[in-house]
């Protein structure tokens, strides 16, 4: 595939040049010309006001992809305990398999040693089938051991889709398996679609992309794998049209688990394997559990930031307590640094650190432009401020107007109850619905 500019339609307006994320378009004479840096991201196709840019598709039927069926989920377990992301993927895999068709199953691939006690849990969370590979050599994760048994199983049973959690183990195993099978792999997905309808619905809700061209091909059932790229500045949807299985790693915490149903049963397939000790070239000397070290602002998943609204330096004691509770890092606005309440190393913003955590708590921060520049691409922003007119509320996903000295202690107190509170709220909602 390649991107092509139709000279007869190109007016040389240059809009595509400004828009290309990869500097892959040059103006040569009066026309736009695609250069070597093109990644076929197709942004220019959507941008061109004159429909002068097209993609040239070339099909090949070399690989018979019709023989592949079912959705497989790699069931990552550590120390005999299933990782949460594997259950999330069973939920997502179930949804996708139902989109593909009635005879499509979602299957857990369980690799390890003495894992029988985990099988019922997999059925309860939605697995139609469990493929189990059990051997003393598979007690600890090793790249060589797990890659071998997994690729052999995929070759034998031919799943259409294989999903992994994007954990340190999933991101070690998946590329190795994909390379051995000579198929594609998409990293760190945050959304998956099979049906074009649901994909278009997603695009229309979340982007300004023109979807009319996708509508022309609604029978497309390739797995559309959407992920952040370019440091999270753009989203890209990746497909793997000619090879099978279609493989993806998926970020933990994004997909939804199915509701646990212990009455659900499934089919167990014990997979034979030919693994021997000499296949494994690394030796795990020890596995050590350790508390997460305090990370820097740039890497923090949660940041609790305080500003002028704290009133004085002692306010950061509360912010610190808050950060400790939620496993976050303490940040601050420039105003709090200038007041001498906290060290500059905590400052978030244009002249401080640019951050992009999963949650940014802005406590007593008004939201000056220079602060916003350093944190507004955070996934979720929560603002707590006395002043309902504070500009911070313009960028916040959730805002609370009130006294942070009263609200934060309550958040700390209730933090561990979040799951129970949420479950209760969904129950009340469904009750009111049915009533």
């Amino acid at each position: 595939m390649a991107i092509k500019v139709l000279e007869e339609k190109c007016t040389g307006c240059g809009v595509c040049i400004d828009d290309c994320p990869f500097e892959a378009i040059d103006m040569v004479g009066d026309f736009a010309v695609i250069n070597d840096k093109c990644t076929v991201c197709s942004q220019c196709i959507e941008t061109c006001p004159f429909d002068a840019i097209i993609r040239t598709d070339e099909e090949d039927d070399e690989h018979d992809i019709s023989k592949y069926k079912d959705v497989w989920v790699y069931i990552e377990q550590r120390d005999g305990k299933i990782m949460n992301v594997a259950l999330e993927l069973l939920g997502e895999g179930r949804r996708l398999s139902r989109e593909i068709g009635e005879d499509c199953n979602v299957c857990g691939l369980l690799i390890g040693y003495e894992t029988d006690h985990l099988i019922d849990e997999l059925y309860a969370f939605g697995a139609d089938k469990v493929y189990q590979i059990d051997d003393p050599l598979l007690k600890n994760y090793t790249t060589d051991g797990y890659t071998k048994v997994m690729t052999d199983a995929i070759r034998e049973y031919k799943p259409e889709i294989v999903l992994f959690g994007a954990t340190h183990i999933g991101r070690d195993l998946a590329p190795r398996v994909a390379a051995r099978l000579d198929t594609g792999l998409t990293a760190d997905c945050t959304r998956l679609d099979v049906k074009t309808d649901t994909y278009i619905e997603y695009l229309e809700k979340n982007t300004t992309l023109d979807t009319s061209k996708i509508r022309e091909k609604t029978d497309d059932v390739n797995l559309k794998q959407t992920r952040p790229a370019f440091g999270g500045n753009i989203m890209a949807t990746i497909i793997c049209p000619k090879r099978r299985p279609q493989m993806a790693t998926v970020r933990p915490g994004v997909m939804q688990k199915a509701e646990r149903d212990d009455s659900r049963k499934g089919e167990l397939i014990k997979v034979n394997h030919k693994l021997s000790k000499s296949d494994i070239r690394t030796e795990v000397l020890e596995v050590v559990k350790a508390a997460k070290e305090r990370v820097s602002l740039t890497d923090a998943e949660i940041i609790c930031s305080g500003g002028r609204g704290l009133g004085d330096a002692s306010g950061f004691e509360l912010i610190k307590k808050f950060a400790d509770k939620v496993g976050g890092v303490v940040g601050s606005s420039r105003a709090a640094v200038d007041a001498g309440w906290i060290d500059h190393s905590h400052q978030v913003g244009q002249t401080g650190t640019t951050v992009k955590p999963k949650i940014y708590f802005a406590c007593g921060i008004s939201g000056a432009i220079q602060h916003l520049a350093g944190m507004q691409t955070s996934d979720i922003i929560v603002a707590i401020n006395k002043d309902p007119e504070a500009p911070i509320f313009e960028v916040a996903d959730f805002g609370i107007v009130g006294d942070l000295y009263k609200i934060i202690p309550q958040i700390i107190e209730e933090w561990d109850n979040a799951e129970a509170l949420y479950d209760e709220s969904t129950k009340t909602k469904s009750q009111t619905k049915s009533a």
Partner: protein
């Protein structure tokens, strides 16, 4: 004979400098500098530390990309690498991670014997963390990813591999592929002398033909994955103001909303 180490490096746009135009909702890339990928700097640093200890170690930095990636390779030479090679060819353009690993594995085969390959865990523009393991697969050597500590004793290597909730200690033999994370070390700066020496060195540019790679396994058309669409997320509108009677209820309603978004 000294150790032969290969370091895989990539020139990337500094994505932390990228901003979104709030009006047009597009990427602003003016003034975004191209840099040596962060994790790759850690990979090179670890190789240099081995060379500090065993001066007869030979370090070759390899990269694939457009000709401007030479600037990044000069930086690697100025830090202390012995040689640098750039695979650059239109036929290699548009490669996904599978195709890229085929090309880089071909470069490494052409170089001949090696003991250790260091790569960065992932590049900041793509964040896939796939090319290192896929090169190892194509070369048929063992790998350890997320390396945060490195020790060497003869031809045996002991590394710490970072996990989300701790770490593993792993022993393996050379030859092998190790991918570095930033906890591994602190990359050194270029020295004035190093820069002077580096600019005198020639950086060979190898074409697809030079590396002898099967053209059906590299480039855009051979790549199993394609970009179907790419887009900037729509700017988000004003958020939700949490309501509630008293602080406790406000706090609870906030947590319910965060839970519904799957962020906690």
């Amino acid at each position: 004979m000294g150790l032969k180490i290969i370091v895989c490096a990539k020139q990337v746009p500094d994505t932390t400098e990228v901003k979104i135009d709030p009006v047009k909702n597009t990427l602003i890339r003016e003034g975004v500098p191209s840099i040596l990928n962060n994790d790759d700097a850690n990979a090179l640093e670890e190789a240099l530390r081995i060379k500090d200890k065993y001066p007869d170690t030979h370090i070759t930095v390899i990269s694939m990309g457009p000709l401007q990636a030479k600037d990044m390779l000069i930086e690697c030479l100025a830090m202390g690498a012995d040689e640098a090679i750039l695979a650059s060819d239109r036929k290699l353009g548009g490669s996904d991670t599978w195709a890229t690993s085929n090309a880089l594995a071909a470069v490494i085969r052409k170089l001949g014997h090696f003991d250790i390959i260091f790569a960065g865990r992932q590049a900041i523009d793509g964040d896939t963390a796939q090319v290192g393991p896929q090169i190892a697969e194509k070369l048929g050597i063992p790998q350890v990813t997320y390396v945060s500590e490195f020790e060497m004793d003869g031809d045996t290597i002991i590394v710490k591999r970072a996990l989300e909730d701790g770490y593993e200690r792993i022993r393996l033999k050379m030859p092998c592929m190790l991918t570095a994370i930033k906890e591994l070390n602190k990359p050194r700066y270029m020295t004035i002398g190093g820069i002077y020496e580096a600019t005198k060195k020639e950086i060979p540019v190898w074409t697809a033909e030079d590396i002898g790679v099967d053209l059906n396994t590299v480039g855009l058309e051979a790549s199993p994955t394609n970009v179907f669409r790419s887009f900037t997320p729509a700017p988000k509108g004003k958020g939700i103001m949490i309501e509630g009677d008293g602080e406790k209820e406000l706090a609870r309603n906030l947590l319910i909303n965060l839970k519904a978004k799957h962020v906690i």
